[in-house]
């Protein structure tokens, strides 16, 4: 077995040193009833590198690869071009195979990267500080709700109708156990989020959670919601699932959000069928001690040189146990690195240009689709994702499009199976990876299917 270096001679010599007669002597504490006498039956034995690769390639070959067809899916996961150097750098063994930086003297590479990541995220989201990343956007969203409860000592969260339904699902799951109350506002493509949220806030409200741009692609002003929340002593939590948008549109922090969380997958990480992704978490500095997750901070070493350490860990699970701000004991370090490298390659100039290209291509796609009879645009102000209504249920049309070799968006029927009123809706995302030919192919195929 190619990963195991011990020879049988080594094993014998080592057992002698230990004073054990056989390897079984080292498992004497396992009760008789639980001892397996040999490899578990019905499972294959070890395989060569070539054989494993053949098997895995066979499975990979059964998927329709996004990059090989006109591709327009978003709804919380976006396909962007990732420069080759990003993956090259994250595969360096010193990043890839390091552990949590528990010994800062020999982990400055990871720590400095996290400090740079925190700064990039805070600036992008318009906040004072950010943490060293969370599992993903959906779990970061729930953690933000929990944090708002700790800050305000209240337990009622208002969820805007445009919040990703899977994020709502995670919050529902957790609230069942923590006793938090969730007030879910009605889901409609053209809901007036500001008015609905303002009306729902009362003296018990800990926070209002608003996605920006929302699940349908709407971009709208967060300032009135922030004002209404603050007037009632509640916090505004903004959720960003497409961080590239913030290269073009105003940041949630600048519009008054107290906590901004997001999904960082768009930069550096790739689609990966849903994970691993990277949760972004930023807030105002005054809430730092209620913030969940890891934090990297600047300090000096014994010689006065600048260095970085994990800090404020007294909030964390391994110190305060049941009083911890969360049970999280990890972050998405490697995905945060990919995000940070991609952001460094872009820089401000590149990010703004990338965002502008995304927006222009989305506008062009919206124009092409709405030129088809029966297709109407539902989200006039959008970044790179918008919703159209089709004349029929969108879900079977998406499947039919796939048969024609076009991955043409996410149907609202898939996201909201319990809401028949949304069944004709189709959420279309357009990034820089989409070509003019892709747009034409999409529009042509859709027109044929609707004819």
């Amino acid at each position: 077995m190619r990963y195991l270096p011990l020879t049988n001679e080594d094993r014998s010599a080592m057992l002698d040193r230990i004073g054990a007669g056989s390897i079984d002597d080292l498992f004497v504490d396992v009760p008789e009833l639980a001892r397996l006498s040999g490899p578990i039956e019905g499972l294959p034995h070890h395989a060569s590198e070539m054989a494993v690769e053949r098997h895995m390639r066979g499975l990979a070959g059964r998927n329709l690869v996004a990059g090989e067809v006109p591709f327009f899916l978003g709804a919380g996961a976006y396909r962007h071009h990732v420069p080759a150097s990003v993956d090259h750098l994250i595969q360096r063994g010193e990043f890839l195979t390091a552990y949590t930086p528990y010994q800062p003297e020999i982990a400055q590479g990871t720590l400095q990267m996290l400090f740079e990541f925190q700064t990039q995220v805070a600036r992008l989201l318009g906040c004072d500080i950010a943490n060293a990343s969370m599992y993903d956007g959906s779990t970061a969203c729930w953690e933000a709700i929990g944090m708002a409860g700790r800050v305000t000592k209240r337990s009622k969260a208002v969820l805007a109708g445009g919040l990703h339904p899977h994020y709502v699902g995670v919050a529902r799951t957790m609230a069942k156990f923590t006793g938090d109350t969730l007030v879910e506002l009605p889901v409609a493509v053209d809901a007036d989020t500001a008015t609905a949220a303002s009306a729902a806030i009362d003296g018990e409200t800990s926070c209002v959670v608003v996605q920006y741009p929302d699940i349908f692609g709407n971009v709208f002003d967060l300032r009135p919601i922030a004002d209404a929340a603050h007037a009632a002593g509640a916090l505004l939590i903004a959720v960003v699932t497409e961080p590239v948008a913030l290269g073009l549109i105003e940041s949630p922090g600048a519009m008054g959000a107290d906590i901004v969380v997001g999904e960082g997958q768009s930069l550096g990480v790739g689609l990966q069928f849903g994970g691993p992704y990277v949760g972004l978490f930023a807030c105002k500095e005054k809430y730092v001690r209620q913030m969940p997750g890891r934090l990297c901070g600047e300090t000096v070493d014994a010689n006065g040189k600048r260095g970085f350490v994990l800090t404020l860990s007294t909030r964390e699970q391994h110190i305060r146990r049941e009083k911890a701000t969360s049970n999280i004991c990890t972050n998405s370090g490697l995905c945060a690195l990919a995000f940070s490298i991609h952001m460094t390659l872009l820089g401000e100039a590149g990010l703004r240009q990338l965002a502008a290209i995304n927006h222009a291509k989305a506008q062009a796609t919206a124009s092409a689709l709405t030129a088809i009879p029966g297709v109407t645009l539902r989200t006039p102000a959008f970044f790179n994702e918008f919703t159209v209504d089709l004349p029929d249920e969108a879900r079977p049309i998406v499947r039919a499009l796939a048969d024609k070799g076009v991955l043409g968006g996410v149907s609202l029927g898939r996201l909201y199976p319990e809401q028949p009123g949304l069944a004709n809706g189709l959420v279309v995302a357009v990034t820089e990876t989409v070509t003019d030919a892709d747009i034409t192919a999409f529009a042509t195929s859709l027109k044929e299917l609707l004819a």
């Binding site: 009833l33 397996l36 690769e53 499975l59 998927n63 010193e94 300090t299 490298i341 100039a349 222009a360």
Partner: protein, 520 residues
């Protein structure tokens, strides 16, 4: 100046050959200082070229929502970017550089075939919401890996979506709570032994439970009598780590499980240390109801300086109906189906809900499955045996120079536990750890578990050769002897690392969490 020692392979340090001069750059040959991107980048520089530059026209529909102020994001050219991150990488210790004995973290070799397979476009470049008939292969990976986990643990079902070990703990405890509530038997207390991971009580508290500690016995295991005495109608369950964080097998787990079940509770097993028993013991045979498996530990997916992890949870028959959605199921026609809220059939009708946006850590699943197939059932059994053999070899090779509090209570499993007992007055575990850095090693886990004073938890793993262990043992022995002798220089170690000891108190007292400068 170094010269080969008598054995020919370990350089011997020769002291007193003069102080090194200061350098202009602050660099020392291949040990390079690296500024922050905010100090070397520019908001007008970029390392990417776009197609369609002309398409970048501003939009009128966004009106006053367009971003107006500078963001403050520095850019670097591709060449500068590669150099910046390559230089940073060299400030890191990693398993690719050498033995990484972090106990309970399990740093073993990360095979590169795993990386290659995870990057196949068929896995890396598919969207979680593609029509399910276009992602049959991705669903097959999830299903196939899940089947392995179920069979290796002797359990009934698996939830693949938890994003890390602690997230898996939460999943297991929520399933327990859902099952108890479904039978109209809401209970309020979770029992957690002292030797548990710190995440265990935090998890139980997050799931709405009151947490009560159960003491450890003098030989480092759960005090079974104390646990039995505490059982009652208010106890929802117990969380036990097996093998435990003292590196010992909980011999009485079956007895404990039977008692907990008789009292109407359920058993959660923290499976972080499953690598010690994989292929040799099925936790399901010991009465466990739920257990998470850290794929990065047992199945070698790299941890990337802190993550990502992946924490699938296996369930007994009793808990299977309550596991979270989504699920992947295979029908008789060989098709894979994604069971979500709207498609949940009878046997998932009691599912407690959704834990994450999509389907879990797919990129970790493809790596873990690659590793499992490479080893097979026979190889995985060998993995556990070699991990346990290596740990016991370290334990027995050092117990004369480092206090090993549980050495008399039988073999350890995959990790060897030492304490600071016997070091000179004023010398601590921390000094031993920092001394090991100068020897070219990442230190072991220190000050954990809490049940032992000044704990040092060494986990060599199965991917270390005897020669590598012998060199490590020699290094740790040398540092331990210096600490026993009270050598002052050890108190200021490390001397040869990129940084000397860092002021963690300052970092916590005056937190500086982002770079602040008006220039960018």
């Amino acid at each position: 100046m170094n010269k080969p020692n008598a054995a020919g392979w370990r350089p011997e340090m020769i002291a007193g050959e003069g102080e090194a001069p200061a350098t202009f750059t602050g660099n020392r040959a291949l040990m390079l200082e690296e500024p922050l991107i905010f100090e070397i980048g520019s908001t007008s520089r970029t390392g990417v070229d776009f197609e369609d530059k002309a398409a970048a026209a501003p939009s009128s529909v966004l009106g006053n929502l367009l971003r107006s102020d500078p963001i403050g994001l520095p850019g670097l050219s591709e060449a500068e970017t590669v150099r910046h991150y390559t230089r940073l990488s060299r400030q890191n210790y990693a398993i690719d550089l050498g033995l990484f004995p972090l106990g309970s973290c399990t740093m073993k070799h990360n095979p590169r075939l795993n990386e290659k397979m995870a990057r196949l476009p068929g896995f890396a470049d598919v969207h979680p919401l593609q029509p399910v008939d276009t992602v049959q292969g991705a669903l097959a990976v999830i299903h196939e890996l899940g089947e392995w986990l179920v069979k290796l643990t002797g359990m009934a079902a698996v939830a693949m979506s938890p994003k890390a070990g602690a997230h898996g703990e939460l999943c297991g405890i929520l399933a327990i709570r859902a099952a108890l509530e479904a039978r109209g038997d809401a209970r309020s207390v979770i029992l957690v032994p002292e030797s548990a991971h710190g995440t265990n009580p935090a998890t139980a508290a997050f799931a709405g439970y009151k947490v009560e500690d159960i003491p450890a016995t003098a030989d480092g295991r759960v005090d079974v009598d104390a646990l039995k005495a505490r059982l009652g109608p208010d106890v929802a369950g117990v969380m036990i780590t097996n093998p435990n964080t003292c590196g010992l097998f909980e011999r009485d787990l079956k007895t404990i499980a039977d008692a907990v079940h008789a009292a109407g509770g359920l058993v959660y097993c923290d499976g972080a240390n499953f690598n010690a028993i994989v292929g040799r013991v099925r936790p399901g045979d010991l009465g466990v109801d739920a257990m998470h498996i850290n794929l990065h530990k047992t199945f070698s997916t790299p941890h990337g300086g802190g993550g990502p992890g992946s924490g699938p949870v296996v369930f007994s028959e009793a808990l299977a109906p309550f596991a979270p959605l989504p699920f992947v199921e295979k029908t008789a026609d060989g098709r894979y189906h994604l069971v979500e809220e709207e498609t949940a059939g009878d046997h998932h009708g009691s599912a407690f809900g959704r834990m994450v946006a999509f389907h879990g850590q797919m990129g970790m699943f493809s790596r873990a499955l690659t590793y499992i197939l490479s080893h097979g059932a026979d190889g995985l059994r060998q993995v556990a045996e070699d991990a346990v053999l290596n740990a016991n070899y370290v334990l027995r090779s050092l117990e004369d120079v480092l206090d090993a509090p549980f050495a008399a209570s039988g073999p350890c499993m995959h990790e060897a536990l030492f304490s600071d007992n016997g070091l000179a007055e004023g010398f601590s575990t921390l000094d031993v750890a920092k001394g090991l850095i100068d020897e070219g090693y990442h230190p072991m886990t220190v000050y954990f578990p809490l049940v032992v004073h000044g704990a040092m938890l060494v986990e060599p793993t199965e991917t270390e050769s005897k020669a590598a262990l012998d060199q490590f043992i020699g290094a740790l022995r040398h540092v331990a002897e210096r600490a026993r002798a009270g050598e002052e220089a050890l108190k200021t170690a490390p001397h040869f690392a990129p940084r000397a000891r860092l002021d963690e108190t300052l970092a916590a007292r005056k937190p500086v969490l982002v770079w602040k400068d008006a220039t960018i």
